[in-house]
Symmetry: C2
């Protein structure tokens, strides 16, 4: 469902030239629960952004749903991102001027119709409660904001979920709750690609890929890696 | 060095009234390494902000270095915050228009003189390297930004370090490196209060306090709690 071939990413901004990805080959199978682990600065977020068509590689090929995204128009790319892929950002990316409920409903407005009930169900599923629905992001704790970002990524019931460190700000119980949500979506056939530095979570995945200095250095089942 | 008595914090903004802290009594001893753990939304950040004189309680008393902070002028409060307390925020709070090096040197300018060498040493100590010094925060990975925020909190060699989830975005090796930095500062006599949801880190502390729904429910040595 997502294929990367020889993907390189070079950041050439300001004083330094950083090779964040140095030739990554990766095929994500439909319905797979894939985990990407690796040290801070190894290129995980860069890889996930390219997989979600939020960024383009410096060289190499990227196919999403069998189509090469470098050939797609901006409009087609946006359609893939809104309908097909749900993205949980490492920095949450909530809209500060919208309430919790409005943040989760926002992607729905881009697709078709609205569904306040559906948004509320998603917020309860990630462990939030009614008292949070009408709050603004700056009135929430770190872990509460993170869970709103997860609910928002699921708003459009995407086929592919790309999650960047979705449990970074959560305690054990809430981390477990989020992993249960991802697992049940995966059992319904959704493809999940999750970046994490918490190695205790790898057991939830089908396959683990280890990234180091912009290259995949290891790959296998959770207990092999 | 920090004393809280009967501290309550109520957020009365917008649609809901949230009692984030419901009567907290806590005495932090000089040179102690104290860890505060608890679920997402339990009041940890609120507690740390009040301990660092960044926020005031709704009721209750707060003493820092033996002085009641409710009696202090804004100027005296700012002086305590700049000279005495180093704060690592959960959301990093880096200044986007300054480079990494300028961010770490920024608090130094508020105190006396500047020390570029010192700032560079702190950045190397938290595991960053020269290639990062002249970058802007949006050119860094999540874990790299977090480490700049830690270096900045240590810029003024504060006596008390308040750190809110300082390893949330870091892999095991970099988490360990940060804990080593805190431990060595603690052995030099600095007082450290750290909030974390990573229970595997409690072994580094002298004492652990468990917060739940705005109240301290448990307290003891790492292996007791
Ligand atoms: N500005 C605010 N206005 C209203 N409610 C707030 C505000 N800031 C925090 N809260 C609420 O107070 C409670 C405690 O928040 P706090 O940020 O202290 O929790 P926390 O323990 O740090 O959580 P986390 O582990 O998720 O960071 C939460 O339920 C949160 O929704
Ligand atoms: N906009 C940018 N300009 C320059 N360099 C960048 C930019 N974004 C990222 N980098 C660099 O590319 C490398 C990879 O960054 P990336 O964010 O993908 O890492 P990561 O594995 O997600 O790290 P973390 O676990 O800390 O979030 C880092 O060394 C970072 O400094
Ligand atoms: Mg990242
Ligand atoms: Mg917090």
């Amino acid at each position: 469902v997502i294929e990367l071939e020889g993907v390189r990413k070079v950041y050439n901004s300001g004083p330094t030239r950083v090779e964040a990805l140095r030739g990554v080959d990766l095929r994500v199978r439909r319905g797979e629960f894939l985990m990407i682990v690796g040290p801070s600065g190894s290129g995980k977020s860069t890889l996930l952004h390219i997989m979600g068509a939020l960024d383009t590689p410096t060289s190499g090929r990227v196919k999403v749903a069998g189509r090469e995204i470098s050939n797609l128009s901006d409009r087609e790319l946006a359609r893939i991102r809104n309908r097909y892929v749900g993205f949980v950002f490492q920095e949450f990316n909530l809209i500060e001027t919208l309430t919790v409920l409005e943040n989760v409903m926002f992607p729905m407005a881009l697709a078709d119709g609205e569904d306040e009930e559906r948004a509320k169900r998603l917020l309860l599923k990630v462990g939030l409660s009614e008292e949070h629905f009408d709050k603004f992001p700056n009135q929430l704790s770190g872990g509460e904001r993170q869970r709103v970002a997860i609910a928002r990524a699921l708003a459009n019931d995407p086929e592919v979920i790309l999650a960047d460190e979705p449990t970074g700000q959560l305690d054990t119980k809430n981390s477990h709750r989020i992993m249960e949500v991802f697992k049940s979506l995966n059992e319904d056939g959704r493809t999940i690609v999750m970046v994490t530095h918490d190695l205790s979570l790898t057991r939830w995945a089908d396959r683990v890929v280890v990234l180091r200095d912009g290259k995949i250095v290891e790959e296998g089942s959770p207990d092999e890696v």
